[in-house]
Symmetry: none
Subunit: 210 residues, 4 copies
DNA sequence: AATGAATGAGGCTTCATTCAT
DNA sequence: TATGAATGAAGCCTCATTCAT
């Protein structure tokens, strides 16, 4: 994408996250991007196109990363997914918030495709949870509820985490992994080499979000 | 409140929850309430006044209910708070979503009072968590993170729970209480008489939301 | 007029003078009169009716007073008219301002009657000026201009005179009488018994505005 | 200013003068300017901004012209000021009426700056009058009243003068100069070369209003 | 006598978008 | 690539007025 195109996209991510899609005007976008509102239209379709592309890109990356974890055992898988979710929501706070909060702003005919992506991503979680339950590793009575609870819990990071704050990114991911296993009633001792796990996930994130 | 006034408020709750504050127009409100847009203004101040009153009322109720639990031991207290939060977010899904999602739509000079209410409510949670950690009942390394995670997790219920769906309200509350204790690393056997706990909380909710 | 009716009229006079007819809302009137806006309509027709009645009453009084002076010699007549105009504009500042400033707010079909009244009043001035010129008492090259100039000059009093201020009412009237004679190029010494003149005019004003 | 910008300004001057600020709607302005009401906003800020700019420009010109006269003797100075005021009010009737009549329509926070300009202009008059009194050239007992009376008298021209009417512009200015000296009780014979005076003032007006 | 409720029309202003340059 | 100009639709809100009670 062109340098200016990136400026437009960044402006949109910032403002959609801060004020919401409907709370952001074209003029706001133009000002933030340092352009006139007419010029904006050289770099985007409609305002909604911009929203869709932000969401799509973000979800595709998340999905791409999440798919790297299929194959491993459920506990490892869910741990990786939690770490992935937390790391991305902590380091790409704005765009993840747009994805999580602005779905309702999509018009009916654009919503389908985006929701489908999100559903595929969430299916990765559900599969891991269900597999863990089947294996007797997790103990939850309502696995779907657990998925929803975990996603809300982990996604919330984007609403408050401050990179410059007192909590290091790796610690954050570890805390959430611990809490997630608590939610799932995971028996037994926590898996070893945890920091390594976070770092491996971070490498994937860095690659896909490059 | 007058019958029509209630219709206006209800319309606002529905639409602000569905489409967001900025996504809801005055004409939408009027249509949903079955009034002309001019008549709307006999029953409200500005659109923002309406939002503020919805939020304030909702938060004051939550706070009032939450304060009933101070005094009991931390584990009981956090269980009650989780059940309160889940029950209210499940049965008053619309207004709780407005509270949780539309804070950013408030203008700077209205935000303070609402945030203060929310902070007082969240302090009830933090106090319970901190007390549980001090007592050795909970095992979390980042108590503030735990509070944020729990609130997001429990509040998420308002986004998906269907009263007519397969999960009974009491079960829902119990599942979340279990998960919350998992998040907090609560040692030992789960407390007995759980259904009774949910029912006692429900009584309080019924009273305050009457 | 009923006591409440008077309150409505007074409110209108005040607000029309302060903010103009178009700058004054029905709600403003109601609030100033201490009534609901619906109740207002028990004491008036439309907002324009109110304006018309204020103007008509004021002009009729002015005309009635002015007509008392016909018959005397031009210099005395114009002096009396100036004193009348100044005294009324100083003591009934608000309603005279409404008359002088809000004529344009009248709809075409109401304007005629009011303008006719004003024209009859101004004719008294023109007659006096013309007679004085014919008598050689006044020396002006454009008598109509002189009339317009004098009326603007004297009417201006309503825009700034403060009854509680440093200038006594009688002095004010005398100063304007002097200035007016200056405008008209009145030769010879000023008429004697000037304070008496003002007082006689004041008596008439008191009677008609009772 | 752009051609269209000028059209907007001209439309505003016309309508504010005819109907008053509050009597003029945005749609009226747009129609008169031959634009849509949305396009109007490319050429102005708010409706009040438009009013302020009209007033400010007009007053700044008046002030600039008036300051050219400082230095000369009081009788000459006041004559020049009267001629300036009359000429401008006769040839720029609309904008001067806006300045004289719409001050009250300004919101409190915009009024200050405009009133300050007007006060500086009126101070030029007061200074000339006071100096003439000190020199014994004028004979007025209330110099401030004289200033107010003169300004009202001369400004009134904008309310009735018709350029195509029977009175030539120069004559008008001369008549008002004569009347003004009458108001001020100026002793002695009138200054000679009067027409030249008007013409010199007209040159200044032409330059500044170019 | 008094008013709460109601409204169509209109208040000023901004919306997202297009297009000629 | 960039933007001033343009606009129909809509934004929130107030207008003057009526009417049932």
């Amino acid at each position: 994408m062109s340098l200016t195109g990136t400026r437009v996209r960044d402006a949109a991510v910032e403002l959609f996250a801060e004020r919401g899609f409907h709370g952001t005007g074209i003029r706001d976008l133009a000002e933030r991007a340092g352009l006139s509102s007419a010029t904006l239209y050289h770099y985007m379709g409609t305002k909604e196109d911009l929203l869709v592309s932000i969401m799509t890109e973000s979800l595709e990356r998340l999905l791409k990363a999440g798919e790297r974890f299929t194959g491993s055992d459920p506990l490892k898988r869910i741990t990786d997914l939690v770490e992935l979710h937390v790391l991305t929501h902590a380091t790409h706070r704005l765009e993840t918030r747009v994805v999580d909060d602005e779905m309702r702003a999509l018009s009916p005919d654009r919503r389908g495709a985006v929701v489908a992506l999100r559903d595929r991503y969430e299916a990765l979680w559900q599969d891991a949870i269900d597999a863990g339950c089947a294996d007797g590793v997790f103990h939850v009575r309502a696995p779907k509820v657990a998925r929803l609870a975990l996603l809300e819990m982990c996604g919330g990071v984007a609403r408050w985490y401050a990179p410059a704050g007192p909590i290091a990114l790796e610690d954050l991911a570890l805390r959430y992994a611990e809490m997630a296993l608590g939610v799932l009633g995971a028996a037994g001792p926590p898996p070893v080499f945890q920091v390594d796990s976070v770092r491996r996930v971070q490498v994937i994130v860095d690659e896909i979000w490059a």
